[in-house]
């Protein structure tokens, strides 16, 4: 999509900085347009899923024994007597004002539920991505600098396992091994039952809240519960991050400036971490952003396994209780965050990498 204005001024008449600014503005506009369209698309899809696919949403609410008058009243109160495009506009208006409807299973507005459950997911995915980056990046660098060695083979296997292992299965096996057999970690849930509700939620992130309250015992209990699900999530991002780091590094190590540095006698450690690693930091940010977004999605499965009270668990509970408002609300929020992180990493790439400008 090109939004660049068709100007008749010859390029030579504008100074280079001015031209770059013009291009920057049109790039920003184009970017804003794609983001806007993508979000609109997300809304259209959830609208379609919620209003168009079910044969009769009114029936789902009032039941098939309702009298005609009740049926009509419910239909009118749901706005279903309006044409589809008006319904869609109303739907977008509702979503933008934070009205996702009531959840049938919890009896509260969906938006309240989501804001209560989201921090748990955020906490788990964030620790997961930290694990993935701290282990994955050095592993990828190591694999590239010793191509063909056993480290390289391990990365290959880990990468392939990351593509072919069900996350929920790994979570279950982890629970059986590290919780039931070895007793190294806490079980399902965010805290042991007797610690529940002792810390008043400030941020909703238990690790932060317990530190604020000075409850170190609760903090460590939360860590013991968090470490396993976060590591399982971290494993999947690690597999992807290490694989990408390796291939970026290999590209750099084959460049001539690396050979020149080696010939000049620069120590190998500096060649790898300064000459080769510095240029790949920018594409790595994109990769990390993408896998962070992927983790938010992957947490749906993990949360089900670990009874983690996050948005993924809320979504699956909604699915099983035919609680469509909860399902669509969570889909919207996860989808929006997913798109947002994707686009942000895209922008960061363009801003930070001079070659992509």
């Amino acid at each position: 999509m090109s939004l660049e204005p068709q100007t008749t001024i010859s390029p030579a008449s504008i100074s280079p900085t001015k031209r770059r600014w013009g291009r920057g503005i049109s790039a920003i506009l184009g970017f804003a347009a794609t983001v806007f369209l993508t979000f609109l698309g997300l809304l259209a899809i959830t609208f379609f899923i919620g209003r168009v696919i079910p044969i009769d949403p009114v029936l789902a609410v009032v039941g098939d024994r309702a009298s005609k008058a009740v049926y009509e009243a419910a239909r009118a109160s749901m706005g279903l007597d309006q044409p589809l495009y008006i319904q869609f506009v109303q739907y977008v208006g509702n979503v933008l004002s934070g009205n996702f409807g009531m959840s049938v299973s919890t009896g509260r507005p969906v938006i309240d539920d989501i804001s209560r459950f989201f921090p748990a997911t955020l906490e788990m995915a964030t620790i997961g991505i930290i694990i993935g980056v701290i282990i994955g990046v050095p592993l990828g660098v190591l694999a590239a600098s010793r191509q063909g060695s056993w480290v390289d083979q391990i990365i290959r296997v880990v990468g392939l396992l990351g593509y072919s292992m069900p996350a929920f299965w790994l979570g279950l096996v982890g629970l059986a091994l590290f919780y039931a057999k070895l007793r190294w970690v806490g079980g399902p849930g965010r805290l042991d039952v007797f610690y529940d509700g002792l810390v008043s939620p400030v941020t909703g992130l238990i690790l932060v809240d317990s530190l604020i309250a000075g409850e170190y015992e609760i903090f460590w209990n939360a860590v013991s519960h968090l470490i396993l699900p976060a590591s399982v999530l971290g494993f999947f991002s690690l597999a992807y991050i290490a694989r990408m780091t390796r291939s970026f590094m290999l590209d750099q190590l084959n460049q001539e400036f690396v050979t020149t540095a080696r010939v000049k006698g620069v120590p190998e450690r500096i060649v790898i971490w300064r000459h080769a690693f510095n240029p790949i930091r920018v594409p790595l940010i994109t990769v990390i952003g993408l896998s962070y977004a992927g983790l938010l999605e992957g947490s749906v499965m993990i949360e089900t396994v670990f009874s983690w009270p996050g948005i993924g668990n809320y979504l699956t509970t909604g699915l099983l209780n035919a609680d469509m408002n909860a399902v669509l609300g969570s889909t919207l929020v996860i989808g929006a965050v997913f798109i947002f992180i994707n686009k942000i990493s895209d922008v960061l790439y363009r801003v930070l990498d001079p070659r992509a400008r």
């Binding site: 999509m1 794609t34 369209l37 993508t38 698309g41 997300l42 899809i45 959830t46 899923i49 919620g50 696919i53 079910p54 392939l160 396992l161 593509y163 072919s164 292992m165 069900p166 996350a167 929920f168 299965w169 279950l172 096996v173 629970l175 059986a176 919780y179 039931a180 291939s247 290999l250 977004a293 992927g294 938010l296 999605e297 992957g298 749906v300 499965m301 089900t304 396994v305 979504l315 699956t316 909604g318 699915l319 099983l320 035919a322 469509m324 399902v327 669509l328 969570s330 889909t331 996860i334 989808g335 997913f338 798109i339 994707n342």
Partner: protein
């Protein structure tokens, strides 16, 4: 002249000979890569298992034996039994049919759909391209699993709806590939020649452009199959995919969840089946990519 000479002849005398020769070259190139051989063997075993399941499986997939429930792996029950005394090994064998059906149908629905949309966008360009690709990009930037979950939630649980939901979320990647391929060949001289002979756009796209997109498509579809298997198993695990008593691997893991702490085999065994089959598709896809599409290696 041996068959091999006939296959490798430089100037084939018929279209059949040319195609057979090309298939033979791809096949021998695949054989040189040990991992793709492993992958191919895994997929072959999966297909044979699915076809001959009634003869391979020692027990029925649904036959209950409550006296023998939750028995650990042994000589009579290689993978143990589940909470209803059903033989897990037999269920895994029968489950291969379900996995193969899901994989096959998703590929059959989403690949042609993506191919067609991409080829149309690439061939016509302009507004058609912008609208179709805008649509594709919107779908591409959605989280796939969540979208599939929401679709199944609306359509209702079940294996058919799971297949539809997965297919709906996986076509955009194929459309992108088909568009890129079409853009590179639409100005080729042989296309202009066909157009001058009076062929309409439909004929050009279906007969002359689509066949040229197939090799990169096969690579991508094979590589994606692992993801399809994982998504299908995930839907089954949550309870939205295949319904009991169908021996779907993800649903089997979900049943074993309750017993994971004491009877570990109920949940772990189907997981190994999923991992092996997914790995098989990854290996084969990697090998096919090296042979059919060498320029995209490592991406």
């Amino acid at each position: 002249m041996t068959t091999r000479d006939w296959l490798l002849e430089d100037s084939p005398s018929s279209r059949f000979q040319a195609n057979a020769g090309r298939a033979y070259r791809v096949f021998t190139a695949l054989l040189r890569n040990p991992l793709s051989v492993v992958g191919g063997v895994i997929i072959l075993v999966l297909i044979l298992t699915a076809i001959f399941a009634p003869w391979i499986a020692p027990y029925s997939a649904v036959g209950q034996d409550l006296a023998n429930r939750l028995a650990p792996p042994s000589g009579t029950h290689w993978m143990g039994t589940d909470e209803l005394g059903r033989d897990i090994f037999s269920r895994v064998i029968w489950g291969s049919q379900i996995t193969l059906t899901i994989v096959g149908l998703v590929a059959l629905i989403s690949a042609p759909l993506g191919l067609l949309i991409g080829a149309i966008a690439g061939y016509f360009g302009g507004w058609v391209d912008r609208i179709l690709m805008g649509f594709t990009d919107i779908f591409l930037s959605m989280p796939k699993l969540i979208l599939a979950l929401a679709f199944v939630a609306a359509l209702g649980p079940g294996i058919n709806n799971a297949i539809i939901a997965i297919a709906i979320t996986s076509w955009p990647a194929y459309a992108r590939i088909a568009r890129a391929e079409t853009m590179t060949i639409r100005h080729a001289e042989f296309i202009s020649a066909v157009r001058l002979q009076g062929a309409g756009p439909i004929r050009i796209i279906v007969q002359h452009i689509l066949p040229l997109c197939t090799s990169s498509m096969i690579v991508r579809v094979t590589l994606d199959m692992a993801g399809v298997i994982l998504t299908a198993a995930g839907l089954g695990f949550i309870g939205l995919g295949a319904q009991p008593p169908l021996p779907e691997w993800g649903a089997m893991i979900s049943r074993g969840r309750t017993f994971i702490l004491d009877q570990w085999w109920v949940a772990t065994m189907p997981g190994f089946a999923i991992i092996i089959v997914s790995l098989g598709f990854c290996f084969l896809g990697d090998g096919l990519r090296d042979v059919l599409d060498p320029k995209s290696e490592g991406k």
